[in-house]
């Protein structure tokens, strides 16, 4: 074999391995889509990927749900929980990041250290008193337990990420652009914020993803079915029925993950940058 041939063979082998890994990784997703069109008989004891017929019955009946609410309600609830949480996170975290990145104030080192320490504060150690607190405030069975921590910048990951990003923006820019003594907030609003778009975007994506996928917090804070989010509704669809029609469950599970897949493909650049630059976990 010549060197050229050797290279070609190596290339083909590389692609083969890549395709095999890809198939294994994506098989569950592909199978979920195919199961969404199948009956229980087809789902169990068969390896056929293609369903017998492409009927949308699973989607239609699945959407109707088990109880008195349809998935329209659950989706609206999810967005009512997720979108304000995401927007509040962006607003509060960027303001706090501005404070840390552009000011010199007493105890700055200690406070920043505290921020870093809270990065590693596990959720399980604060969840019980938080629940007790929200219970006393009468916030259980509302989305306030999600909105309030977002309003008060309780996501040190995003603050840290934005501080890092802001440090990368030259200070001369805000100093010279506002040399005539305009207020600090205008510097933030008119100069820094527009430059921070990539950081804001990736924070928004991850906050959306995490809050949308979250199950534990929804499970403890939301009680009434009329306020259920998608994750709670999906779990309900399995618990509520004596004979689970898995095709319907898979149809709804697929619809639940679809917004994430679409969002990911539309904004994958920001996802990858967000992970690679600051170590956000997906």
């Amino acid at each position: 074999m010549t060197k050229q041939q050797k290279k070609t063979v190596k290339m083909i082998l590389s692609y083969l391995v890549i395709i095999v890994i890809g198939c294994v990784l994506l098989f569950p997703i592909v199978w979920m889509i195919s199961a969404a069109f199948k009956t229980n008989d087809e789902i169990f004891g068969s390896i056929k990927l293609l369903p017998a017929s492409f009927s949308f019955e699973n989607f239609i009946l699945g959407w109707k749900g088990a109880g008195q609410y349809t998935y329209t309600t659950y989706f609206l609830n999810s967005f009512l929980m997720v979108i304000p949480t995401t927007l509040l996170t962006l607003a509060s975290c960027s303001l706090v990041a501005y404070g840390f990145a552009r000011f010199n104030f007493p105890f700055k080192k200690q406070l920043f250290g505290l921020l870093i320490a809270t990065l590693m504060l596990p959720n399980s150690v604060i969840i019980i008193p938080r629940y007790v607190l929200f219970n006393k405030l009468g916030w259980i069975d509302s989305y306030l337990p999600f909105w309030a921590p977002a309003l008060l910048a309780c996501y040190p990951f995003f603050v840290f990420q934005m501080v890092q990003f802001m440090r990368g923006i030259p200070r001369d820019l805000d100093e010279s652009a506002c040399i005539d003594g305009c207020g600090t907030f205008r510097v933030f609003w008119q100069i820094l914020l527009p430059l921070m778009k990539p950081a804001l975007f990736s924070a928004a994506l991850f906050q959306f993803l995490w809050t949308y996928n979250d199950y534990f917090n929804s499970l403890i804070y939301i009680n009434s079915v009329s306020k259920y989010t998608i994750s709670l509704a999906l779990r309900l669809s399995v618990d509520a029925e004596s004979v689970v029609v898995w095709g319907r469950v898979m149809a709804m599970a697929f619809i639940a993950v679809l917004p994430l897949i679409l969002l990911f493909f539309a904004a994958q650049k920001y996802f990858v940058e967000g992970i690679a630059t600051s170590g956000l976990k997906g």
Binding site: T118, P129, G279
Partner: protein, 300 residues
């Protein structure tokens, strides 16, 4: 000169920073520091959500470690889960990243596709998918049967169920992979050239150059993944509900049951503090060992 510098007078502008920091200071005090300290206090109390906390000393901890058999089981299950998933995920992510770190066409598309499973995180949708796929007559066993292999009781066998749940976690190695890929791109190429001149083989280069150069990222992932794994809840709760025979009853589930089914807030707080202490010990061991194995190039 130096003396003048030391005495720093903060200007009005400097103090205005606190206006911007205010949300975080409040949030940190109300939603982080206060709950953190109260859960420690609660852990020494008898506290039903309807009543008031009554101090009971170390009772909760004593009960957990001596009479509560479920706790020891949960502790073991959680540690085994962490021991499987963290190295599993990192080895997978690193292997795939090293493999993808070459000049091939369509690398961005491949990276994107490999990342997709990680999008779903701890969502109920994929937990249910796992549940259906790994049922006794599910598609995974059908594939095995087609290949003339025996069926496996993926979720029904107590010695297998935990591993099946670990597979879900390892499947989502995408974010670690993306971080490793970024780190691999930053390894200076001249190191490899120099090693090649010295006659080092590919394997030698991997262990003597690649691995040491990316140790900061390995270290970071090791810590974050461990913290996450020790708190796992959703997959165990949705897929197997802790069973069969409590084989997947992780500490996160135990915490949930005690706290939010029985509303024994003091007892649940004690569990949460044990999780916290385990996390602290592991993190401290990793941090103190890091001077020996984590290599920061900017330190020279």
């Amino acid at each position: 000169m130096t003396k003048a510098k030391k005495i720093h007078h903060f200007t009005k502008r400097d103090y205005s920073a606190f206006i911007y920091l205010l949300p975080w200071i409040l949030g940190m005090l109300i939603f982080q520091l206060y709950p953190f300290l109260s859960s420690l206090v609660y852990s020494f109390c008898n506290y039903k959500i309807t009543g008031t906390p009554e101090f009971c000393g170390l009772n909760n901890y004593i009960q957990l470690f001596t009479t509560d058999n479920e706790f020891w089981n949960s502790l073991m299950v959680t540690l085994v889960y962490t021991l499987y998933t963290v190295p599993g995920k990192l080895v997978m992510a690193l292997a795939v990243a090293v493999f993808l770190n070459r000049n091939i066409r369509g690398i961005n598309l491949i990276r994107t596709l490999y990342y997709i499973p990680s999008l779903f995180g701890g969502s109920v949708a994929v937990a249910l998918l796992w549940k259906v796929m790994f049922m006794d007559t599910g598609v995974i066993n059908s594939i095995l049967n087609t290949l003339h292999l025996p069926s496996v009781q993926w979720l029904g066998d107590p010695s297998q169920a935990l591993r099946t749940i670990c597979m879900l976690e390892i499947w989502q190695f995408g974010s670690s992979m993306v971080m490793f890929l970024a780190a691999l791109k930053n390894v200076p190429g001249d190191l490899y050239e120099a090693a090649e001149i010295d006659g080092a083989g590919k394997v030698r280069m991997f262990f003597s150059i690649t691995i040491p150069q990316i140790t900061p990222i390995i270290f970071f992932n090791l810590i974050m993944q461990t913290i996450q794994a020790l708190q796992n809840f959703t997959s165990a709760f949705v897929i197997t509900d802790g069973g069969p025979m409590k084989a997947t009853y992780v500490l996160g589930m135990k915490l949930y049951k005690e706290g939010f089914s029985y509303f024994k807030m003091g007892y649940a707080s004690a569990i949460s503090w044990i999780i916290f202490i385990i996390i602290m010990v592991i993190t401290m061991v990793l941090f103190s060992s890091s001077t020996k194995w984590v290599f920061y190039s900017d330190e020279g």
